[in-house]
Symmetry: C2
Subunit: 410 residues, 2 copies
């Protein structure tokens, strides 16, 4: 299936507008701290949330709103600079954000979804948000600059903006999916919080939108790790406003599969952006596991390798220390036959086999180093025990990770 | 129960000798790379091993020897500089180490236990070991210097020697337990391999020695984490030669409990040494969890907190970022009521409450910083849901961790 990547982020699909401003949550006036995404018409909506027991108040409110609206939303508001988590009045503040946004847009508060990212456990003042919403609404635009400004509004220690959009055909109609994301880190560093806001003009019921999203995250966003710390505020939200006028997807038909493939296409793009821009990262690591007995085994192995601090540090040092790959597979909990494992490293500089049947083989350290000095590294693991595979994304562990996260909050 | 800490390490108990030399596995001639511990008489012996599926060949051979000897051993030989893991001829080499040691000591090879630590996947040459064993045996001494030299022989990137010994009364007889340990890192950096060799002159059957050791590690060595990477070569071995002439422990009687307490006493000492000397560490972190519904919950919470890269980096920066403690509890998998959690930080500079009922409270950042600038930090977590507790030990995440583990192997 081929997908045509286009520009425009969340504003690429028909009927979506966005904006972003600095309202005053952050002291640094050069960084946006409030973002809004708006659909001209009510949209089928779905979301997935962090599995952390400590959940940000905005996640609770978003979940409640989707429940009471029957999966219909028309706007997403999100601030950065404060996670609104572990605060006594967190839910109240998150609800106020929805109410104020709803008033300004003349829509019901329960049709507004809400996100926050930033430091945990510091009360979030509603005043700058309240004062900022009129400007935020007045700046809404379907121009691509809107997506750009919204993307800026949710960034924390991200060093690059993460926007993507794709065009595809659904039963003869041109459909689009767009997204913005924030990755790993905060200006007052805290969680490697991940927020993904996705828009699409495809027509699809909330039920099947939720199914597509939930199934998608298992192979994409749930396969990233920057530092093994699951955030309290992770959330992925999708709004589908149907303005592409395709026949509404209400079953697992061929169009559902096409939609899921397009969703996966943009999700993988975002995963690579998120992992490559992990806190302090100098390298994107992509771990491909093949030949697994089953998919859970392939996933467990791939995630264990990209989560290993020792392996991540070796990648920072461009050190072909494959023993750490074997070690991480060995403690992953996956049932594998160690004596069948092959490992290779690959980058734009070439590919090198380093381990065969669970034991080392002769290889040129110089060639391996040249391969590992590149900014995108593939770790290729063959378990040689079946036909299932998985991919996980991560980054190297660097001095800057320690620096970013060892700094004072204040 | 009171224990009298004494000097002498593994040579403190009656009838034990030790030695350490440089035999040539390491290129650096100033570092010992071969260690031997010897009991004048056959000793009840027990061991616990890493749970990593990828296991060093020495572990396989030690396990086999303990099985064929019925839990009786008289010597432990261990090299550093090479883990003898993921090598085609690993078992053969480890067996040769036992055979050569047995010949030189005039004991059966199956009464020799063997360990290795160092880089994975590089063939281990038996020649320097073969050539070194006569000198190693000739230098055996019950003098405390023997324990010291043996301890040096198993060190890798350890910056301090880890020796401990304790004296206690068992049914009117003075008994001793001594130990040496190596912690986190390698001169060719690889796994945070942990090796613990314990000697005692207490009389106890192999069966109850194994029980005491297995139960002990659950609360001590299994509660340490330097970087979340479970080594392929972790092993704890204990030899009990009975020369203290106490009535042999062959049941779960009062003496068994005293012996276990003494074992725990030295184990906790070693845990603190190991964690405090974690790779690159500037701070020892001790996390006490109280008020848990059950012990597994307390352990899960304590380990999750000391394993969090974000929290470890915050401790390096002396940042009282308690949100990361809550976050790590939240994703630990333990079933806890988040709204009941209290958190405090404590060191020699004092104690400060930072979180009450799962939410932030006002506290002086300056006072908190002064507390967290000290080299030993207690993280006190009250779950306020029961009467069970647990302790885990770890260290901060620093630039030097990245440096040590990002360096080339060669």
């Amino acid at each position: 299936m081929s997908f045509n990547e286009i520009i425009g982020g969340v504003c690429a699909p028909k009927g979506f507008k966005a904006s972003g401003i600095h309202c005053g949550i952050r002291k640094n006036r050069t960084k946006n701290d409030l973002a809004l995404i708006y659909s001209e018409v009510p949209a089928s909506s779905a979301a997935v949330y962090t599995t952390n027991l400590v959940k940000g108040a905005p996640l609770t409110v978003t979940k409640n709103n989707l429940a009471s609206s029957g999966g219909i939303a028309q706007a997403v508001i999100c601030n950065s600079g404060n996670a609104n988590t572990c605060n006594a009045n967190g839910v109240e503040i998150a609800q106020a954000m929805c109410e104020l946004t709803g008033q300004a847009l003349n829509i019901k508060p329960e049709n507004v979804l809400v996100g926050s990212t930033g430091v945990i456990g510091q009360p979030l003042d509603i005043e700058p948000i309240k004062n900022g919403i009129p400007e935020l609404v007045s700046k809404l635009t379907s121009d691509f600059s809107g997506s750009n400004l919204a993307c800026e509004g949710i960034m924390t220690t991200d060093t690059v903006k993460k926007e993507v959009a794709v065009e595809f055909d659904l039963g003869g109609k041109s459909c689009k999916i767009g997204a913005i994301a924030k990755g790993s880190g905060m200006i007052h560093p805290n969680m490697a919080t991940m927020l993904i806001f996705i828009t699409t003009d495809a027509a699809i019921s909330s039920e099947y939108l939720q199914a597509a999203l939930s199934e998608n995250v298992q192979d994409t966003f749930n396969m990233i790790s920057i530092d093994g710390d699951t955030s309290t505020n992770d959330m992925t939200v999708i709004l589908a406003n149907g303005m592409a006028s395709n026949a509404k997807i209400t079953s697992r038909d061929e169009n559902f599969e096409v939609f899921k493939s397009a969703l996966k296409f943009i999700s993988v793009k975002l995963c690579r952006m998120l992992a490559g821009d992990g806190e302090g990262a100098t390298k994107l690591l992509e771990c491909h596991v093949t030949g697994a007995n089953d998919i859970p085994t392939a996933k467990t192995v791939a995630k264990s390798v990209i989560c290993s601090s020792l392996f991540k540090a070796a990648m920072f040092g461009a050190d072909a220390n494959w023993g750490r790959v074997l070690c991480a597979i060995g403690y992953s909990g996956a049932k594998v036959d160690v004596t069948k494992i092959d490992v290779a490293f690959e980058s734009e500089a070439g590919k090198i086999d380093v381990c065969k049947d669970g034991a080392g083989i002769d290889f040129s350290e110089e060639v391996a180093k040249n391969i590992l000095l590149k900014p995108e590294i593939n770790i290729l693991i063959s378990l040689n025990s079946g036909n299932n595979e998985a991919t996980a994304w991560g980054c190297d562990l660097t001095y800057d990770y320690v620096k970013i996260n060892g700094d004072y909050r204040t």
